[in-house]
Amino acid sequence: MWKNITVEESRRLARENAKDIIACGFDVSRTFIFCDFDYVGGNFYQNMIRIAKCVTLNQVRGIFGFTGEDHIGKVSFPAVQAAPSFPTSFPHLFGDSKDVHCLIPCAIDQDPYFRMTRDVAPRIGFHKPALIESLFFPALQGESGKMSASDPNSAIYVTDSPKDIKNKINKYAFSGGGATIEEHRKHGANLEVDVPVKYLSFFLESDEELAKIKEEYGAGRMLTGEVKLRLIDVLGKMVDRHQKARAAVTDEMVDAFMAVRPLPQMFS
């Protein structure tokens, strides 16, 4: 509804995304993946209506900035987004129990939806969902830029080859290092704007190694090229593993994850 793609394309992309998610290592005996297009109905829809009745048009205008020009799909979407926070939306998983707590890991831009949900929850007899909001890491070109699917040089994609990753980091990752080697040795790197170091802080497993790199690079003893090389290595391995795992995810596996079935092992 926001990017103006067709329903068919949305469903296709949803399945593709599901494959990426499964490739991250979710356990099929404890995971249910659903797509609104297939799942909305029954108890889920009943909760959507209960939620919708608690939020006025003026409120969604205030929270989400909708105007008279926005189509009604957008305006009614917050209720769809909120419904999965409540256990009775999933009768095959939780029956009619209202006493199940919900934890939502999401990006910070989803916050308004769930603040609204938290406001509605006690009014319809549910626990408030809890959120873990994750930080965005910067686009390759730095804070001034934005990651976009249409600009391949703004981000590393999970479909990138090792060559692509090497190229993108070396050519496009914004460096906080000095303009010349002498300057860099003298003043060190500006860690506030340096993109490779920021990426490493997300992706490098070892906190000690990260601290050491920050120290050496910040003091000018380590060069930008070396930091970039380390990042290329880390990202390369990660992307390679993800691609291999994703290749092993079949359409049947996606169907299994999305099948409306009970999950008795969920809390074991």
């Binding site: 499964i22 099929v28 049947e252």
Partner: protein, 331 residues
Amino acid sequence: MAAVSKEALLSRLQGLGINSIVHEHPVVMTVEEQSKHIGHLGTTLSKNLFLKDKKGRLYLVSALATTTVDLKALSQRLGLGKGGLRMAPEDALQEILKVPLGSVTPFALINPSSRSVILLLDHQYQNQPKLLFHPLVNDSTIEISNGDFNLFLKSIDRTPSYVDFEAVVTVGKDQPPDLAGFVTELAEQPSSLDTKQSIASTQNCSIKEVASAKFPNSKLKVPKEKVHIEGEFQKLIRDPQELVNHILDETIKATMEKVKDVTHYTDTSISNEIKSQIGPDLQNLIMLFKNTAYTQGFVAGEQYSLGEDLVSAFASRSSVVRGRSESGRCY
């Protein structure tokens, strides 16, 4: 090995119980020339392209003369990028397909030397009653029924892979190449039986195993048909022995490395380091194994609850899977 001759081909077809009609005509090098002599039959002629990609893999594309085959688009759909497909050089024609210029034909795949050639057939062949191909030479044309052609393919251990060459398919970041499953991995040994099954039918083979075996032992045996196309992980999760060997290899390798580095003192510290180094990856692999086993059970369960007799359930499953892999998506 010597090339199979036209006579040998014809006697092989007869041996399979195939009644085909051979039309003799002067040597023809193009479809236009060919149609001058046998256009009157009313059956659409076929055009056959012998192609090569940058990595040296060979493809035989066989389509109705009326179908437009855009090599650039096909190359993208196969995941070879734009311009990844070229006409194969003449010596490949001689060496692999063992037919002269102007005689490219699916029948050439009867030669064992062409085992690695990937065959792509026009999906419109399926609704043609008769097909026309050169019988390894271009001074005649065989008229063969669609069903008999499939019989021939089966006899050389090939399953027909149908492609809609005219389908407009966008390939991009979010849309992986829909025909990439046909492209074999180069590392494999050339003596495979079937080189063109997509990844979906790879899973289908193990479903065959499970459907007849008892679930939940989930016998992930290596299926009888050694399927060519498998990523690294698929190989490991298919076979518990492979998986265990992989785990042990990784562990031993990591241990050896650590043991060499004498600055680490205690056993527990080495052990923890090794675990943190290879643990997460192995966990991921095991989860994939579990998910695969569950999926196969799920599919078997679906079949079971549909209550059909297993033979027709098996048949309908294969065509559904093939349908999925061809259209790319099942919705």
